[in-house]
């Protein structure tokens, strides 16, 4: 691994100042589970690595206030998966966090890192999209809030400016009962990169949201405004039409060695159907529990 300058700012202002003055030659280090691989293989060659884990504003913390769950940028997957609030309100996010890598990886990989790498296969992206997350970013001109649906640009690129960093992720607690699930396809049952990663939610109002990744340059979010998918009495044919429309954005790479485009598309459809069914079941369970 090539050497670099290492900075460990202890305030957000210092971090932003470093980013602002060194910009493109820097790399932010959160969990490091991706960055350190890239430092070693030479695909990342920063002049400076900025370790953000000692910035108080980014600290690993999950708190709920006024119907919004705020997740500190450096919250690791293991904590996300185990957190009671996340599991209660955002079960699919907890599920996604629990399948990222091994225990060792989940103890290091952060929520901000997972989305800032902008890997199309990022497992937390589909649930964050489905749950309407907002990315809180800080830069030289203060902070701004970016809807997650505007965050991913393409593989490896987000809408963050070079001098901005993610401080936290906000998740609005669903106003109505919601059933949701995260599913993925991998080449083996043990930890693996997803060849399809998908999240589906259904709420009491009959709105189905579906987000999927690893089948194109960025994760995609779709919403069924017709309420057909959530309608138990709607005919299967009608549901298929809606689902097909939702998958129109998928364009899996032909170059990938992990799965062929045909297989990914077939699995996207299969997981979509399975996820929808599970989401509806979970919604019904919650209704039952409330009744």
């Amino acid at each position: 691994m090539r050497t670099f300058a290492y900075e460990r700012p202890v305030s957000l202002a210092d971090a932003v100042a470093l980013l602002d003055s060194h910009g493109p030659s820097t790399r932010l280090l959160a969990g490091g589970t991706d960055l350190i691989i890239r430092l070693r293989d030479g695909s990342a060659r920063p002049g400076m690595v900025i370790d953000v884990k000692r910035i108080p504003e980014l600290c690993p913390e999950i708190r709920e206030r006024d119907g919004v769950l705020t997740i500190g940028a450096t919250t690791v997957m293991a904590d996300l998966a185990a957190n009671g609030l996340v599991r209660r309100h955002f079960e699919a996010l907890a599920e996604a966090a629990s399948v990222v890598g091994s225990v060792q990886i989940r103890n290091r990989a952060t929520i901000a890192g997972n989305i800032c790498n902008a890997s199309p296969a990022a497992d937390t992206a589909p649930p964050l999209l489905v749950y309407g997350a907002v990315v809180v970013a800080a830069g030289p001109h203060g902070s701004r809030r970016i809807p997650i649906s505007e965050f991913f640009v393409r593989s490896g690129l987000t809408s963050l400016e070079p001098n901005e960093l993610v401080v936290a992720i906000e998740l609005p607690v669903p106003a109505s009962l919601t059933g949701a699930v995260h599913l993925r396809r991998t080449r083996r049952r043990g930890h693996d990169l997803a060849s399809v990663t998908l999240c589906c939610s259904v709420n009491e109002a009959g709105v189905t949201r579906l987000a999927y990744g690893s089948v194109g340059p960025k994760p995609v979010l779709e919403q069924d405004e017709t309420h057909v998918l959530a309608n138990p009495s709607a005919p299967d044919d009608a549901k298929q039409v809606v689902l097909e429309r939702m998958f129109a954005e998928a364009s899996p790479s032909k170059r990938s060695m992990r799965a062929s485009p045909e297989y990914r598309m077939a699995m996207l459809r299969l997981l979509g159907s399975r996820a929808m069914r599970t989401a509806i079941e979970r919604l019904a369970e919650k209704r039952g529990a409330q009744a």
């Binding site: 050497t3 083996r188 060695m257 399975r274």
Partner: protein, 759 residues
Amino acid sequence: MSASSIGSSPNRVGGIGRVSGLQEYVADVRLAGVLEAKLVTLDCARAKIISIDTSEAEQVPGVRLVMTAADLPQPMPRFGPQLEDRPVIAVDETKYHGEPVAIVAADTKDAAEEGARLVHVEYEELPAVFTLAAALDPDAPLVQDPSLRPKDPLASTNVLREHHVDWGDIEAAHADVVVENTYSFPIVTHFAIEPHAFIAAPDDNGIAVWSSIQHPYWLQRILAKLLDLPLSKVRVLAPDPGGAFGGKQHAKYEPLVAFAAIRAGRPVRLVLSLEQTFQAVRRAATEIRVRTGFTIDGKLAFQDIKADYLIGAYCDIADRVVGKGSYPGAGPYNVPAVRIFARSILSHTTPSTAFRGFGNPQVNWAVESNIDEGARVLGIDRLEIRLRNLARKGDPFIPFDTPADGDWEQTLRRAAEMIEWGKPLAPGHGRGIALGIKSGPTTGLSYSTVRLLADGSVAIYAGTSDMGQGARTIFAQIAAEELGAPLDAIRVVMGDTAIVPYDQQTSASRSTVLMGNSVLKACSSIQAQIRTMAARLHGIDESAITVERGVVRLPGRELRLMEVLKPGLGKLGGELIGNGETRKDGDADHPLGGAAAFFELNCTAVEAEVDEGTGDISIVRHVTVSDVGTAINRLQVQMQDEGAAIMGLGHTLMEHFIYDETGRIRNLGAIDYRIPTTMDLPLEMRSETIENADGPGPYGAKGMSEGALLCVAAATAAAVREATGVAIRDLPLTPERVWRALRERGGRANAGTNDDGES
């Protein structure tokens, strides 16, 4: 007298070091003044080297040596266990992705890495052949310089060698049904968790070389020849390998590191990255065409097998793998007519080498699968057809080899029982059963020395490598049995050619039998000396005395061994020394150069469930039964069989190298080369042994540890076939491959439009 340790499961000798972190592997060896080395490689499969500029690298502070082909003797020294075709370092041309063109040694790894980055190589990428079809194309570039193979009529092709095994008359054989299919087995890699590591140091006018190697004495011979040194001046130290599986049998970069150390005048260490290890060792991909003839009552009429093995750019031991791996291809059956034609095909890929199963799993996959096909055509149960053809003990099933050396029907029947063959299956489930056989060693030479020390403790010197199979423990158990020393008072010294007597090699599941017998003989020699002592001390005839498990029996009385040893050794103390030798000479007229010392026979049976939506295979139950003669250490036998079974599931379900269109390995590294984790195991694994004490090893033991891998693929694919109706003839059975096969089958597989497959 203590209870016999044979057949029990005492803790692993060397285990405490392994659980405490103190076990020293090559990368852990502390050595003053050692330079750390890095390789310079090109990111292409084949290239013409135009020039190498080392000047910038040499300027890096801390860099002590930059060595290329230009710094080595001319012509470039070449080596190899079969053919001396591998250059110490690439000269003029690289022939596989990752072949080194320079080595940089420096005070620190950082400096070596920096230096390696700054070696500038001007090269021209050349077209590479990395598939069987491309290598066999008449217009294909030749992988080997024909001048390396003078007088060889095949020298102008990429066929390195052809192997023929024939008996009976195929053309005249009467068959009612003939089934012909082609099967493929991919390139897989060993993935020992310890990446290969080497150290060389100038030593006493010679050289000392540390390597995580299975055959230290073979390496010693190769180094002595390359460096023109007497054997006594080449000291090979072989710390226990952290997994080897055949990949660490033969010299790879030891000669390069040795030349570097001599040139630097200092010790040099090279630890490969896992990626470089993947580029250093792998199993041969194989395409097997099988034509099987059956009579109407399910008897095998003939087997006509053609197997093309895709070996690499240099021979290594690959051609022996082809010859020995295809040889028992017709299986443990009485087949009246057999024709096996196997070829070693060179390619611009990593030299393929020995890998657990040694070329047998490939042919087994095809032949066992084809027997199932025949059974289906004939409407005969797949277990039944095997029973009808299986060789019974003593049958000359390979006419010019050792007759069937076990009650193999017992093995087959036990596995069938354990998988509940014939019982109704849940929907989406299927069963498969297959037999695997492999020839044990055809030649061998193992010396050992056992020292019975003055206090009754024991030191054993045996040149086997303990790479996890547990050879130390076996030898200690033998000495404990024969000399009565408690296991924790036995030291087993291995891995140093300057101290330990010669052993030919650690391979072919030989060590329990060959070195085990050698240790047994060394112990017998000590027992004889004890008898002589007792006779002298007590004034009786030696023939009236027996020694067993630390007890000396004289007429009418028993003495503890110490009661003889102590007075026998007298005031000066000292020790008794026994030497053992096991020799299995070859037979020049035999197709393999010698008959099998024993056969490894295994039956694997699998129950699998297939998710027709995704193509996922779940192994519900995996049964593996091996005929081991006698299990000297029950737990170690179980671990070896289950470990082999899991490794077999790796190549069956997920492992394969993927190449790009220019011949580079795309899934180079642990992220995309998938092997089984804790989550990928059969829901239930059951392993058992058949023990009739009918092996040639100590206490009736046979060699084992490869058997349980041999037929995993065939058994699994057969289960998938029963579950789904689709026959898949290419490995691995990835979910996508199964899904595709289901889609082609049509019918129930309709992934996507609706959910399915979950019963």
